[in-house]
Point group: C2
Chain length 419, copies 2
């Protein structure tokens, strides 16, 4: 069987599995998730052994220590993944809930019922925990999932796949609803992206290159975000201490993630006070600042920001700083250079707070809080499958509910249409 | 300027228009819609004159009388379009409504606010009324729209575009938010489908060929339905009279539309009674029946259905009829041959009604009512932009609300993330 046929067979099995899974009770699905958690902890040694193969190959290939770190499955890491499964089992099941129901003048009752999306393809890199997290969220929402991880984690992912499938079978759920693609070639991905008759949505997770590769080739709808160029705008009326604390948190707490701040915008009226205070705090934490012309006048010795800095997702202890005339310029800057991910305003001004929330077109907009909160768990959605910066279907952090859609259900008693 | 540059310029203008339109009040948007209605009625003669050019060219090209009919803008047709605009103006504005808001343990208030999708590209054929309907629904939801109609309606569409843009300007809304593409080549469509940095969603409306053309080339998400192979399942406990009435309505009232019934499934226990009754009624109305083997045993002289009949969207007075063993076979048949559009069950059995609603994976599922009700207006959504049979973003008839998305808004008072 060549790769084309094999991907076709995987997808066809997933489709069948999804039909069965869609009608299973919450109880069976949750039992499968708990069995997965048990399977992971019971087979820790097996998992660590398979993971070691990946790590050895990665070392031979000269991967960076950061990459090796992401690839590693430690005992405590496996326990964390299992705990995540138990938490997902406890979330409410979105499937079957009727989100709205109304009565038409002719007596028809019309409602919208949540149903699974069907088959979800997840394409991702390096971190083997994604294999489990993504599978669990998909199963919780009644979807079959096809998991295609990176070549560097293939032994780990296959091992995890076996454990997940065993748990599905033990719980009385279709094993075909959770499949790990055994091939690591790009050809396998390209085949997968053409199977629109079987796969309902593709969720890529990884670097911008991977995501662009997927978007350019997919006939299947893709939910994604390319990057997070997140802004904080410190308004004229901001509390300086709050601005310093939030900027520190947004830049320093975890600089390598997509909801970290990359550009700071400061109102010119408060710039003389705020820029030095924020800068001193961040420079103490090892952050390199790159300023606009006005920022460099306030703070000598800074590197001057170039045009490309305003587009940059540093994912590192680097921050671009710009002094702006007012909220209008701040919103325009975000519109022009931002990535529609997450932006925050620090302000005491009611009008400006409301205006920022209303007019900034990003997927998460905050007042007086750190950009780091744009995350499914932090916002109260429970575990998160990803973040979308495209507006269709989901915009922002996506939880289990975003892995469902709604169909119309209609209760009649013989109605026919007359016009 | 070549077509590539021109499409780029159109899309860039649309993007700017969408940013302005997104922040306009409901009042301004509704005034624009009412001004559009007034403009259409005031310029009836101009419109009919331009429409005549299209009709003359279409006659020369030998288009069918059905096509000519769809292309024609009559006085009363223009009045109907204007009335549609006034109705859309009266719908509630979805933009800015916060659909949910909750409090987190750390005191953050998190909500989801409805916002426009941005820029919508509509690609359609022949009917010039789509130009106005689609533009009005997009504007109501705060979206800019790029309208690319068929070559056969180019004079009508351009004329309508002028009137719509005049109304936008008069109302104080950006004219660039409603643009008719002046080119009718496929190249213009192909360019449009590549402009993912400007256009947020593509909605194609027309025949299956057009839709496949769009899906295969688009880098932008597409909301669509290929076809409607709609089923009615007459269960063993069905009321025969109700079955006859609903089948008549679903097949005969308007056979050329996507929510007309194409296949009738009848439970074998009731087939001896229902098949002859339904058949007599439909044959009186000029419907040609094609039966499965068992149907042909009950009703002599029928043409036997072939495999391809079960997939067929006849859009005509033709119906495939199949006798099935039970609801399980009915649901399986629909899963295998259906198009996920609309299906109905006729039954008096509570369990089967609930099971059909739950298990049939189509976008609209009805009990004891005609498939013809799956339509935005009939289900109470108001005017409809289209029907989606892909599950992402919208599934089933789409109203104004489906032309929006939600962003997360967060009210804080200094919260930072600690883990």
């Amino acid at each position: 069987m060549d790769i084309r046929q094999e991907m076709h067979a995987i997808a066809a099995r997933a489709r069948d599995g999804s039909v069965e899974l869609a009608t299973l009770s919450s109880e069976v699905k949750d039992r499968a998730l708990l069995d997965m958690a048990r399977g992971l902890t019971e087979h820790k040694d097996f998992l660590r052994g398979e993971n070691r193969k990946d790590l050895e190959e990665a070392e031979r290939a000269g991967l960076s220590s950061a990459m090796l770190d992401r690839l590693t499955l430690s005992d405590s890491g496996i326990e964390t993944i299992a705990e995540g499964l138990r938490q997902i089992a406890q979330l409410p099941d979105p499937v079957g809930s009727v989100v709205n129901m109304w009565r038409r003048p002719n007596g028809l009752w019309v409602g919208k019922m949540r149903i699974p999306l069907g088959v979800i393809g997840v394409i991702y890199e390096s971190r083997p925990n994604v294999t489990v997290d993504a599978a669990a969220l998909c199963v919780k929402a009644g979807n079959a999932v096809i998991l295609r991880g990176g070549s560097e984690a293939i032994h780990s992912n296959r091992a995890l796949g076996h454990i997940l499938q065993d748990a599905m079978e033990k719980a009385g759920a279709p094993a075909a609803a959770v499949q790990v693609v055994p091939h690591t070639t790009r050809e396998a991905v390209e085949e997968m992206l053409r199977l629109e008759e079987y796969i309902d949505v593709i969720i890529p997770r990884g670097g911008e290159d991977l995501i662009r590769f997927v978007v350019e080739r997919s006939r299947i709808p893709v939910i994604k975000h390319y990057k997070g160029v997140c802004h904080i705008f410190v308004d004229a009326s901001a509390d300086t201490e709050m601005a310093v604390d939030i900027c520190h948190n947004a830049k320093v707490q975890r600089p390598g993630v997509c909801n970290a701040m990359e550009t700071l915008l400061v109102h010119r009226e408060i710039a003389q006070r705020v820029v030095p205070a924020v800068a001193a705090n961040l420079q103490d934490a090892g952050v390199e600042l790159r300023g606009c012309h006005r920022t460099c006048q306030i703070l000598s010795g800074l590197k001057e920001a170039e045009e490309e800095d305003w587009y940059a997702e540093y994912l590192d202890l680097v921050l671009a700083v710009k002094v702006v005339d007012d909220i209008v310029e701040a919103i325009k800057h975000i519109e022009q250079y931002g990535s529609r991910h997450t932006e925050a305003i620090i302000t005491s001004n009611y009008e400006n707070a409301q205006r920022f929330l209303r007019e900034v077109g990003s997927s998460t907009v905050l007042v007086n809080a750190s950009t780091r909160f744009s995350d499914g768990f932090q916002l109260g959605l429970g575990a998160e499958i990803g973040i979308s910066t495209t507006k269709l279907h989901a915009f922002g952090p996506m939880g289990v509910e975003d892995l469902t859609t709604t169909k119309f259900i209609v209760y009649g008693n013989g109605q026919i249409r007359t016009s």
